[in-house]
Symmetry: C2
Amino acid sequence: MKIAILGGDGFVGWPTCLHLSNLGHDIHIVDNLSRRWIDTELGVQSLTPMDSIQERCRIWKEVTGRTLHFHLLNLATEYERVKQWFAEHRPDAVIHFAEQRAAPYSMKTDRHKVYTVDNNVGATHHVLAALVETGIDAHLIHLGTMGVYGYSSVGAPIPEGYLDVSIDTPAGPREQQILYPTRPGSVYHMTKSLDQILFQFYAQNDGLRITDLHQGIVWGTHTDQTRRHPQLVNRFDYDGDYGTVLNRFLIQAAIGYPLTVHGTGGQTRAFIHIQDSVRCIELALADAPKSGERVRIFNQMTETHRVRDLAQLVARLSGAKVAFLPNPRKEAEENDLIVRNDQFLALGLNPIRLEEGLLSEVVDVAKKFAHRIDRSRVPAVSAWTKEIAERVDRDPERQALRPAS
Amino acid sequence: MKIAILGGDGFVGWPTCLHLSNLGHDIHIVDNLSRRWIDTELGVQSLTPMDSIQERCRIWKEVTGRTLHFHLLNLATEYERVKQWFAEHRPDAVIHFAEQRAAPYSMKTDRHKVYTVDNNVGATHHVLAALVETGIDAHLIHLGTMGVYGYSSVGAPIPEGYLDVSIDTPAGPREQQILYPTRPGSVYHMTKSLDQILFQFYAQNDGLRITDLHQGIVWGTHTDQTRRHPQLVNRFDYDGDYGTVLNRFLIQAAIGYPLTVHGTGGQTRAFIHIQDSVRCIELALADAPKSGERVRIFNQMTETHRVRDLAQLVARLSGAKVAFLPNPRKEAEENDLIVRNDQFLALGLNPIRLEEGLLSEVVDVAKKFAHRIDRSRVPAVSAWTKEIAERVDRDPERQALRPAS
């Protein structure tokens, strides 16, 4: 199958490219390398030493004999080139990772809010419009997030995409199925909620075949394919903007920094290992909707945990201390989260358990590359509002952790 | 009150400026004049002879002694200038009309789809981000559309913005109030559905005070203020893209063209007179939500009609014939529509009835300016998909109506 992987140079994109190339698919990476530019902007780098995309593709060819095609293209700003690219390459499937994916980055300043909306809505809409215009009947798989729903569930399991509601009419109650209502908690999450509306429209009006994967927080670094050569290693972010909660705990443990829990740590989140993430994409690819069908939505996660429980787990494995800091985000202090993922389990997903995989992350990644860690980049500094920023800044515990400048 | 009217040169924007200026408010029109540029692109013009915005402002000053300030600014593409404008002018209220507002135009080609999304999402998000960044606590009133809900109601009245749903949980059913689910039927309507998500987020995260007016199809031309001088006249669109259904029937009647009903004409739509529209905005302005409140949503319409019934009504007033043509849109052939508008009625709206006001439109506008009508621009040509475009194009009745080229 000829597969376009949009954002194929990123954290989940790259291992997806290798996974699907290894299965024999013809892989075309389309990426504007914005994530590398953001590293430069923030003055951070992947913990794991990461080569250029061209070099990574060369190594993969050397190791496996398989070709990864790389195309430098800005999906969000170059619509005419996007359309031309699709007309020329006519992929059978399109996997769309090409969005700015960090909630804290999206809340940094007004410029970052504007960039995130322009980039994410632009990329998604341009791909949709180009598919319709070129008449390409490709299966579009999009990486969404569990976070579109916000985290104030009513205590019912979050279903996969749709909700049955009963509406009172003069003729009695009528059942209707609606998109599960979203309540995004950051500009980043909001863009994924906007994407849903775009998908609903283009599936309905133009019969586009779309699968939207509502992913949990991805943890872990290696997949079977990234392990095949040191230069195929995946990126690992630990900074306050792009490092997700578990990766940041691992790094903090490795350098003897306290594990920084925001607020009470009562936030419950959904998680999935990177190896399961690429496997889910493989499963979704094999299960394409038909034209005219509604958007297929999967919850792509395998377990849920409270943040403070994760901190305790990593503390137990590593001997690190836990520090409670004020929360720079505007969110519920404590929430429950029950998520259905029956669809992927039915398709054969056999999840990697966090308890089992965590130790190898500590040893193989965090400790191995600990000498590359810049301690000053570990704190999360993006606050959701200016008032929160000031409150967080005044906190004595936070000030004690600040590196001398 | 100092009021910024974004898109104040447009069809509803302009009479709103005059109405609120007449009430003594300090009006600042912010507009990039894109609607005039689109006239040029399409080779159409307002039926009513329309002066430049600068000249209109000068006449208003002459007639009333009141000043309308005009600022040429592209809200969708010049974020930094938008922020600067707000910082400098610090309005008490912002009324936001600055979106591409024609469904057929938004479906014309892929370029028009991309333009509509970029322009509408860009303008709305830039205004929201700028209000947060500058810390201005202005009441933001946005013109949305009834069309976000699609037109396949389950037979229940469309409530004002929110829906009570009951969700089954292990602990029994739990009541929750959600944004009334949207199902937009064109790219234009889709952008208004995206706006809703933007508003929900910024009201929740930043306490912005927002009112979203879900407007029906506006009919009529004159308001008390536009009548005060011939050069204050409002624009009147009759072309296949920007002319709304009732205005197009009036024009067709005036030039002896058949009243073109698409499909069975069983589509039921909501309507409101332009004078009531500006009055509703005045009422919404006086009823601002508090910071921290959810977005206040009004259905801004006064009556509903089936398209074929409207055609019969105009035919009866004018002696015109009715022609049934294939529908270029993808939509339900027949639908019911029951809409709640209790909130505006409670605030004192006293609606102008279509049956009463229609004749003056035929005489004062359509017949008066009939000599300016370009018959070739009357047919609706934008189709929702390429397949529909071909089917519409082959229709013999449609071909018979086509002007010799």
